[in-house]
Every structure is written in structure tokens, then in C-alpha cells.
């Protein structure tokens, strides 16, 4: 077994001692590593910063002298500030992700004696989280338990975090596992107990097994996202190295289906102008997600079965079998058992792919996850657009009341939910989603769902043309709570628009003075003596309201 080590150049320790040939009498951790009598590296990755190029060159030379059969690979890694946790962790993390560690063919070591303390901690953490593979090596100038000088060679210690005796670390592992589960949930703090239990099982299977997984559940429930996250988790754990290939079988038909999946030789059929390796081949060493697998034709089912069992298949028009070692996740919203009974789906294929079968619940079955998903979707939107978009408090309350209402069917599940939020975010002005925006969206959804039991995916293309006020009158409005259900008949729409915002500010403020300060932030500057709370009280009185009633409404809302 070949051995490789990853080590940072120690700008202080590796430069330790005199210059000239006498440097050999000083303990220099990286050179000392190459001098050990019972440790040998076939490959030595030395990470250095350009400002220490000279030192790096000299250390590389000395490692080669001390260990001529070691291949030294100097690698440039710049840190603007080697003491900046975020930067150092990020760069080392990227390095770990970018590098394809051949964990099976090589023993890996990570040297943690050199580099800033921050870098050492980051190396440790990345090793512990399996981003950096193998064992840790610590070097020191003197022997164990004594000040005995061991000369330039010093001593070393190998720390294998895999060993169970590192109890304290095992506890950390548990927290890492929690992170894995969180990552499978896409970072969404879901609250639905059944869903959380499901994800925990998926995590265990994803990390421990290479067997196929079948994800069932209604369309839009997040099968594709979960498959991708399983892929990402396995990749981060070093359990696979290839690509994630996502295929919707419903989009594949006839020769095109066979060729898309299994590839073809040039000229295999009309239109096959060149060789095509196919999606199974593309997933070699990686993960293949076949969504809507129930839509696959009989021929493709047979070929797929063989590809799963023997890791080989025959591309269209080829007389030579192709090989691909892929991990498989299938998705379907059909009852495959019924399809088997009806002769539409191969029983042997089903029993091969449903060893691990998980049913993802639809959104309506886990409404308690709507709120965390709302936050998640907004974050995603903000990350995508670089904007800081948020609901105003009232609008949020309104939206959640509607979304959580059992009368809202969410037939399109998360896909529909995502579309809703996208529309809200797109139409919102000035970075705030207001009640009016929400009302409009609710109206759109009502129109859409009352039209028919539309298939969820059309949710995306639903026209956004509803009038906000109409929605507002038909549905319960937070103003109704304080003004009475008939408020729209008693006040002008003109006034209500202003009142909504004022009420919202009041609810978000602890005192009337605080609310007044916000509401009159500009005009109060022109006054000698400001009495904002009085101005506010007078305004609210026109509607028969007071700060206290609005604040009380906040208390009850929370």
C-alpha cells in the first residue's frame, strides 16, 4: 500500500536552526518526517505560501535528500491571514473537496505540527469530518515523557481518529452525524417528527450501504433533492467519487431512452451520428438518480436490471459491453407493486431496487415544516439574487395562516410551495413582502386550485394576474382582528393601506414611543419638541384603535 502525506510548510519550525549545512542538525518537522526509520511516504504534499517559496524550495530539496524515493509535491496555498479561522478553514476545505483522495489505494496521513494554530485545528477538524482522509501525524523534537533530545529526527506520533479509544472525539462524531442529517434535510430545521425519523434512517443507510434506494411519494415531495443530498453526503464521506447523474425516465422514449441511458455506437440507429457513452457510464463511480422509474420501458428495465447486478451493459449497436460501477437511487410516485401485478413493471427489478424504500410525505402531511421551509426558500432566494428580502411581520403571519390552513391543499407539494415563494419574492417591492403581496398570492393560488385539480407542475406557469384587494376582502385579514370583520365596508381602501403599515410597526415595537419614532422618523427631526406617541395615539383614535390594542394583538398572535 502506498502512503501519502499532506503537510503545511512551517514558516517558523521548518526554518528553525542555523543556515547552511548545519541546518541538518536542527529539528525541522517536515524534514524530520522524511527521516523517520519506521515511517515512509511515497508522496509528500507540501502546502506553502508564495512568500515562503525560498524556504519551501529548501525543505523540498532536503526531503528529497533524506528520502530519495519520496515524490515531493509542493502545492501553493495562499492565506491572507493564516490566523483567520474562516479563511483557513475555507481554503483547506476547498483543497480537500477539490482533491480526489484515492482512499482505497493509498494510506493517507495529515501532518498537524506545522502551520498556524488555526491551520492545525482546521486540519484536525477536516480529518475528523473525513474531508481529509487517513491518520494524523504529530511530530516533536524530543522523546516521550522526557526532554531527551532526539536530534534532528525527533519523534512522531500517529493519531488515528477512527479508533474508538478517542472517546471525546466520538462524542464529537455524534454532533457531526447531526450535521449529516441536517445536510440531508438541506439545512432546513424540519419539525415533523415522522419526516425527521425518516431522514435519520436515510442517513444511516446512505453512509453504511451502497445498495439501491427507492424514494416514493407524491410529485414535488423532494425526491430529487434528497437524492442529491445523499450523493453529497456520500461524497463528503469519501464513499464515492464520481458524478451525480439525475435522469427523469418520463422524458425518455424509445431508442432515445435506451441510448440516453446505456449509450450507443455511431450508426446504431438513424440519428446516432457519433458514439455516446450514455448516462449509466456518466455515473461510473458516482450516483445515478432515476426519477419516475415506473415510466421506464420493458427493454430498458431488463437492461437496467443487468447493469445493477453485473455492473455491465450493452450500448445500443455495440458488440462490446460497457462497464459502470454506479450507486443507484430510484424515485417514483406510482405504486410499483400494482404495476408489477399489472405486468407493467418487472418484479425482479423492483425487488432489486426497493431493498431500502422510503416514502417522502407530501407538504400537506407535514405542515409544521412549512415555516422552516419558508425561511429556507427565502434564504435561497437571497443567496441566489444577492438581495435581502423579508416578509413584514404581518405579511408573514398572513402567509403562514393560509399555508397552514388545512383547506390549502398543497397538491404540488414543495415544488408548488417553492413557486409560491418565488412569485412572492419576485413581485415584492423594496425588499419587503407586504400583506398585499401575500393576499395577491393567496388569490392566485385559490383561482388555480378552484379551476381544477391541476397537476402540480403547472403551478409554475400559473398567471399572476389577480387583484390584491379582492383577495384581501375575501379572506381573513389581521386588520379584521382589531377593526372587526366588516372593516372594509367602514373604511376607505386608501386609509386601510396606511393603517396596515402603522399596525405592523406597532406590533413590532415594544412601546408607543418606539413605534412613533419609527413612523415619524423624518418629520420629527423638524420639530423642536417631538411627541411621537401622542401623534400616533391621535392617528389610531380615528379608527377607534390604540397602541395598547395593537400590542395586545401582537401578544395573542405570538
Amino acid at each position: 500500500m502506498k502512503t501519502s502525506i499532506i503537510s503545511l510548510l512551517g514558516s517558523t519550525l521548518d526554518a528553525h536552526g542555523p543556515r547552511g549545512k548545519d541546518r541538518w542538525n536542527a529539528w525541522r518537522p517536515n524534514v524530520a518526517l522524511a527521516m523517520q526509520e519506521d515511517l515512509h511516504f511515497d508522496e509528500f504534499h507540501l502546502l506553502y505560501q508564495s512568500q515562503f517559496k525560498g524556504l519551501a524550495d529548501s525543505v523540498v530539496r532536503d526531503i528529497r535528500t533524506a528520502s530519495p524515493d519520496t515524490v515531493v509535491v509542493p502545492e501553493l496555498m495562499e492565506f491572507d491571514d493564516p490566523w483567520d479561522f474562516g479563511e483557513v478553514y475555507g481554503k483547506l476545505y476547498d483543497y480537500a473537496l477539490a482533491r480526489r483522495f484515492d482512499r482505497e489505494e493509498r494510506d493517507w496521513y495529515v501532518h498537524i505540527t506545522t502551520g498556524s494554530h488555526v491551520a492545525q485545528i482546521c486540519l484536525f477538524l477536516l480529518n475528523e469530518s473525513h474531508h481529509l482522509p487517513g491518520k494524523l501525524v504529530q511530530t516533536s523534537p524530543s522523546g516521550k515523557g522526557s526532554k531527551r533530545n532526539c536530534g534532528p529526527r525527533g519523534t512522531y506520533r500517529v493519531i488515528d481518529l477512527e479508533l474508538s479509544r478517542y472517546d471525546a472525539l466520538a462524542r464529537r462524531f455524534a454532533s457531526e452525524k447531526r450535521d449529516d442529517i441536517t445536510s440531508l434535510k438541506g439545512g432546513i430545521e424540519t419539525r415533523n417528527a415522522a419526516f425527521n425519523a425518516l431522514i435519520e434512517t436515510v442517513e444511516r443507510v446512505a453512509v453504511r450501504s451502497r445498495d439501491p434506494i427507492l424514494l416514493t411519494g407524491p410529485t414535488g415531495a423532494g425526491k430529487s433533492q434528497l437524492a442529491r443530498r445523499v450523493y453529497e453526503l456520500r461524497k463528503a464521506k469519501g464513499l464515492l467519487q464520481g458524478a451525480f447523474v439525475d435522469v427523469n425516465c418520463a422524458t425518455l422514449r424509445g431508442d432515445q431512452a435506451t441510448s440516453a441511458l446505456f449509450g450507443h455506437r455511431k450508426g446504431a440507429y438513424t440519428g446516432a451520428a457519433a458514439d455516446r457513452p450514455g448516462l449509466l457510464k456518466a455515473a461510473d463511480g458516482g450516483l445515478l438518480f432515476l426519477d419516475e422509474i415506473g415510466e421506464l420501458g420493458a427493454d430498458e428495465q431488463a437492461m437496467l436490471l443487468r447493469a445493477i447486478e453485473e455492473k455491465r451493459f450493452l450500448p445500443l449497436g455495440s458488440d462490446k459491453e460497457a462497464e459502470s460501477d454506479f450507486q443507484l437511487i430510484c424515485g417514483t410516485n406510482r405504486d410499483l407493486r400494482a404495476d408489477v401485478a399489472a405486468g407493467r413493471f418487472r418484479e425482479d427489478l423492483l425487488s432489486r431496487i426497493d431493498l431500502w424504500s422510503f416514502r417522502l410525505p407530501g407538504l400537506a402531511e407535514r405542515r409544521e415544516d412549512i415555516e422552516p421551509n419558508l425561511d429556507y426558500e427565502l434564504e435561497q432566494w437571497n443567496a441566489r439574487t444577492g438581495k435581502r428580502l423579508s416578509f413584514n411581520k404581518e405579511a408573514r403571519r398572513r402567509f403562514l395562516a393560509w399555508a397552514l390552513d388545512p383547506a390549502t391543499p398543497w397538491r404540488g407539494n414543495f415544488r408548488e410551495f417553492n413557486a409560491c415563494v418565488t412569485r412572492l419574492a419576485t413581485l415584492a417591492d423594496g425588499g419587503r413582502i407586504a400583506v398585499a403581496d401575500v393576499e395577491a398570492e393567496i388569490a392566485r393560488s385559490h383561482v388555480a386550485s378552484s379551476k381544477s385539480h391541476v397537476e402540480s407542475r403547472t403551478c409554475n406557469s400559473r398567471p399572476a394576474t389577480c387583484d390584491a384587494a379582492e383577495g384581501g376582502q375575501r379572506l381573513s385579514d389581521p386588520l379584521a382582528d382589531v377593526l372587526g370583520a366588516d372593516f372594509a365596508e367602514r373604511f376607505d381602501r386608501f386609509d386601510l393601506a396606511q393603517l396596515r403599515d402603522v399596525a405592523e410597526v406597532c406590533r413590532a415595537s415594544r412601546t408607543a414611543a418606539e413605534a412613533g419614532k419609527r413612523l415619524f422618523a423624518v418629520s420629527r427631526l423638524a420639530k423642536k419638541t417631538a411627541n411621537d406617541s401622542d401623534r400616533l395615539a391621535k392617528y389610531l383614535a380615528k379608527f377607534g384603535l390604540s397602541f395598547r390594542t395593537l400590542a395586545a394583538d401582537r401578544e395573542s398572535a405570538n
Binding site: 542538525n25 526509520e37 533524506a66 524515493d69
Partner: protein, 374 residues
């Protein structure tokens, strides 16, 4: 003429006999006798030479870090490469090794021992094997040429090689770069001609003969030459009667280092006693180590110094099959070697005849059949 006892062992003509394919394996306990690298190196050479598979257990058992270290592994890999051996357990820290040799092949080889390892020890391990290859060889070995606890290059070149020449071996060696502990980076090159059976002659080293030249040498790299001067001067002073030639110089080496040695060139043998300077060792101590070894040798009067005595056994067995030499008191290295030879070659005769004062002994080695001529 030398006759071999068994066709399965050390066949005539230096080429392993096809019969070696079914040669019986040899089991050795690596912790026995000297219990370190010596038993490994000797058994590797003999396994390749006899074609008998080697199963070595308890390698360096009881040491602080048991098992194969880098320089041992370098020897295993080197011999394995030369004789196309299949190995199991050829890993750092491994305490067992199985080694199934194939046919010995000459050719161009390069072996890297690593900084602290002795290139000389690897040279001594592979040399007897390469002499039995059907083709000539060119070998480069990198590592230490002047490191503690191993013969120095100067011992190898001035003392050991001439004795191999005397056995009929055609070997040339050079040292284009010195390698000291800790940096290493030295290199030894060997040019080895296949041993010609017609050149085989019984080896005899029973008397030193007259002293022709005596020399004290001290070398440095990267440190003050004054250190070498002082070491040479101390030895000059201690042995005025030897009228040393004095040689003090700087040598090329990647790292710092210092060595001092005395060469006593007798008619039949050149004896070399060296000492390696270490970082925290005074030059006086370094010189005194040489002084003590020289005194002991001169007092004993046996031509084979302790190092030569343990290193001559394998070449004798490999080349001529018979030899006699006079040496000092038995060392653990020697007796271990004898046992390894006996294990591989059960009919080998190794007889020791001690002088009445026990200070020296005559060693006779023969691979002859009982009654065969020695």
C-alpha cells in the same frame, strides 16, 4: 576444486538450478542471536543464493519499535528485485516476512535506503547475490555511507572488497557522494561481473603479512576542518610507531558530517577502523574510539577484524564454498551468521579452532560433502 553437496543448494556456475523451484523453505526466528538486521540481511542473501524460500518470524522482536525499519525494508526490496522474489510482509513495522526467491538477474539497479539507513549494508547484502547472476550489473545505492552502527564506505572499499577480489570476484565500486547521518544523500555505485567458476579458489586469510602502509584519514563536510585536523593529530600522537600518512580533507555531501579512520595495509589484508563524528560528541571521543579498535586489533594479531570476520562468511559460501581465516573473539554477529548459514545449508561445515589464549580463533568453512576435499 569445490564440490557442492546438494544440487538444490548453491549450484555450480552461479546460476540457480531449476531444482530450486521445489527447494524446501527455511524457517527462522528473527529474535535469535543478534536478533536485529544482521539475521535479516544474511538470510535474504542466502535465500536468493540457495533458492530456498525464507519464512522469518519475530523480526526485531523486543526492540522499542519492533519489525522492519526503512533500511531493513530497503534490503528486502533490493534482494527481492534482484531475484524476482515474491514477498509477503515487506512493510514497515512488519514482524514477519515470507520471501520466495526466483532466478537471480543482473542488470541496472537503483536502491534508495533513505537518510538514516546504511547504503553500505545494503551493498554488502546484494553483492554476493549479484556475483551469482548470469549477467553483469550496475548498481546505485543511495543513503548513508558514514553512519553510526554500520560499516563505513572506507571499510567497504579498502578492507572488504579486496577480500572479495581474493575470492575471485570482479567488482568495482565507487562513492561519488558521501552521506552522513542525519542528512544522508550519499551514493555507492557497484559494477559487478558474474562470478566465473574458473576463478573460484579456496579463501585463506591466516596471517596479516607485513605492514606496508599505515594511514590516518579524517573527513568533514559543512563543518570546520579543524575538527578533522585535531582527530588526525590525536591518532598520529597515539601511534608514533605506525608512522601514519596523514590525510585530512573536505568531502562533498548534502549534509554536515565528520568521520575519521585508520587504515593498516598489510600484505594480505587491509584493516580499517573508523568512527563517525556526531553532533554532541567531542573530537577526542571520536578519535579515541578509533584508537581503541586499532590497539585491540594489533594486540590480537588476527588478520580478520571483527567486522570483516562476520562479513566474510556469506561471500565465502556464495563464491568458493570453502575458506579459512583467523579472527579475534567471537562476536554475536558472527555466531548468528553461522547459525543462519547452517540453517540454509545443513551440510555446511563451520568449524572454529580457538587458540589456547582464546583471544583468536581459526574459522574453517566448507560446503563439501563428508569426505570431500576442503
Amino acid at each position: 576444486m569445490i564440490s557442492y553437496h546438494s544440487s538444490s543448494e548453491l549450484p555450480r556456475g552461479g546460476v540457480p538450478h531449476p531444482a530450486t523451484a521445489e527447494a524446501s523453505p527455511v524457517f527462522l526466528d528473527g529474535s535469535f542471536g543478534e536478533g536485529g538486521g544482521q539475521i535479516l540481511r544474511t538470510s535474504l542473501s542466502l535465500s536468493a543464493l540457495t533458492g530456498r524460500p525464507l519464512q522469518l518470524e519475530n523480526i526485531r522482536a523486543g526492540r522499542e519499535k519492533p519489525g522492519l525499519k526503512r533500511q531493513h525494508l530497503a534490503a528486502v526490496k533490493a534482494v527481492a528485485e534482484i531475484c524476482g522474489a515474491k514477498t509477503d510482509g515487506a512493510e514497515l513495522g512488519s514482524t514477519t516476512l515470507s520471501f520466495s526467491p526466483g532466478a537471480i538477474r543482473g542488470g541496472a539497479y537503483r536502491f534508495d535506503v533513505g537518510s538514516a539507513g546504511s547504503a553500505t549494508l545494503v551493498a554488502q547484502t546484494v553483492l554476493p547475490v549479484l556475483l551469482r547472476a548470469p549477467e553483469p550489473s550496475e548498481v546505485a545505492i543511495t543513503g548513508g555511507t558514514h553512519v553510526p552502527w554500520a560499516p563505513t564506505w572506507d571499510f567497504f572499499a579498502e578492507s572488504y572488497l579486496p577480500q572479495l577480489h581474493a575470492m575471485g570476484a570482479r567488482v568495482e565500486a565507487e562513492c561519488p557522494m558521501r552521506g552522513f547521518y542525519p542528512a544522508g544523500g550519499g551514493e555507492i555505485r557497484l559494477r559487478v561481473e558474474p562470478f566465473n567458476e574458473a576463478d573460484a579458489r579456496p579463501f585463506a586469510l591466516e596471517k596479516t603479512g607485513a605492514l606496508r602502509r599505515a594511514r590516518v584519514s579524517a573527513i568533514v563536510s559543512g563543518i570546520q576542518i579543524a575538527i578533522a585536523e585535531t582527530e588526525a593529530d590525536i591518532l598520529m600522537e597515539k601511534f608514533p610507531e605506525l608512522a601514519f600518512e596523514r590525510e585530512v580533507r573536505e568531502v562533498e555531501s548534502p549534509g554536515p558530517g565528520n568521520a575519521v579512520w585508520v587504515s593498516l595495509e598489510f600484505e594480505r589484508v587491509t584493516a580499517v577502523f573508523s568512527s563517525i563524528g556526531e553532533y554532541d560528541l567531542s573530537r577526542k571521543t571520536v578519535a579515541h574510539r578509533v584508537m581503541n579498535a586499532v590497539r585491540k586489533y594489533l594486540k590480537t594479531g588476527a588478520p580478520a577484524c571483527p567486522h570483516l570476520a562476520d562479513q566474510l562468511v556469506v561471500p565465502i559460501v556464495a563464491l568458493g564454498g570453502a575458506g579459512v581465516f583467523v579472527k579475534g573473539k567471537d562476536t554475536l554477529h558472527e555466531t548468528t551468521n553461522w547459525e543462519v548459514v547452517r540453517t540454509f545449508l545443513p551440510d555446511a561445515r563451520i568449524e572454529r579452532e580457538a587458540e589456547p589464549d582464546c583471544a583468536s580463533a581459526t574459522l574453517r568453512i566448507a560446503l563439501a560433502e563428508p569426505g570431500g576435499k576442503v
